[in-house]
């Protein structure tokens, strides 16, 4: 008699939903970007400065991941772009199933670029595929240049690393070369941009990188 075995990876349901999300997004010609990084590293501020640079080229929508509150969605809504706040109610990362529910509510036919701000956490989000096409890891200079070595998973999965708050660098011990060495020790080809909300041209570099990846069919 054969023994029945039930096997279920904790990622299985998530991965199935992620695959469905990616198929749906591809079908609609939408490029999705999963933006990850620790609490307060500047993800929402980055979006506030990035979206005005992108909106003349693309129709942008945003998903805002948080444990609680709609503060971040309110900041994005002020830019007059479609936004949905995803609340995990204590969960430490977004899931593909929550993103799937949000996709069902968005006007997909009118969207070219979907920016998904994950929960502020440099750890768990890196393990959960949402169905995105690109992953951005955000690191602020005030967090310290040791973080790529200490949170390697996030920086490994990222297609682009963005170092934020560089206007504060002189007031910190952050050493840009040391941070780059730590990132490139994980992946020597990894692209790294250094930005400040006070320098629009630095944000333009990230806008250009996104532009080069957005489907314009």
């Amino acid at each position: 008699m054969s023994i029945e075995v039930l096997r279920r990876s904790i990622f299985q349901n998530n991965d199935r939903a992620a695959q469905e999300n990616r198929s749906l997004l591809d079908e609609r010609g939408i490029t999705a970007v999963n933006i990850m990084g620790g609490a307060g590293c500047g993800k929402t501020t980055l979006l506030e400065h990035l979206i005005p640079q992108l909106r003349s080229d693309f129709a942008v929508a945003v998903l805002e991941g948080d444990l609680a509150t709609t503060k971040d969605a309110a900041r994005i809504a002020a830019l007059d772009v479609p936004v949905i706040q995803l609340l995990t109610e204590g969960g430490c990362h977004l899931t593909a199933t929550l993103v799937q529910e949000a996709l069902a509510r968005l006007p997909l036919a009118e969207i070219d670029l979907l920016l998904i701000e994950n929960v502020g956490n440099p750890i768990c989000p890196a393990n959960f595929d949402l169905g995105e096409h690109l992953r951005v890891a955000v690191l602020s200079v005030t967090e310290g240049d040791d973080k790529p070595a200490k949170y390697p998973f996030l920086f490994k999965v990222a297609d682009q690393v963005v170092i934020t708050k560089v206007d504060l660098i002189a007031l910190t011990d952050f050493d840009r070369e040391r941070a780059l060495r730590a990132i490139h020790a994980l992946d020597k080809e990894k692209g790294v941009l250094t930005v400040s909300k006070k320098d629009a041209s630095s944000i333009s570099q990230l806008a250009d990188w996104l532009r080069s990846h957005v489907s314009t069919s």
Copy 2:
């Protein structure tokens, strides 16, 4: 015929180990403090400045939680206090079982105060009892004053909130009153200290708070 039911909370093994840790610590007259906060909020720097103020009164030992690297343990070892690096290998919080293994390796008879720096994450650590007596939540001004509302669980469980990097406050949008209101909306009795590594007297306030809680039997 009765139906057999197996029930196991994901917290059950952890809680049992936490209780064992607490009993062992109590027996040895050791006060343990679980220090939690996001990546780069200044937990290790706080310890570097706090320990020199405490060591004349107490024998201090440290457990350093991280996903990877022994960087933080090396910083504490430079102060010449016993330290063990706890690596979660990707895990987003310390567990009581990992702390239990560390306690078996520490010279408990020679320790009064055990400072446990959790993994840099403002979310999951708040859910896992390590067997500690006190919990400290750390928030840096560079993370933003919206974080207590956005990560309420951490700030609710904390016995003391410490706002760090206040020397940078003028360069940020951080509003101390707004942060205090958000913290006190969760718990109107919550103690909040505001510190900077550049102001030893601010660190002294935290040292005094710890002194008032350490068993000196």
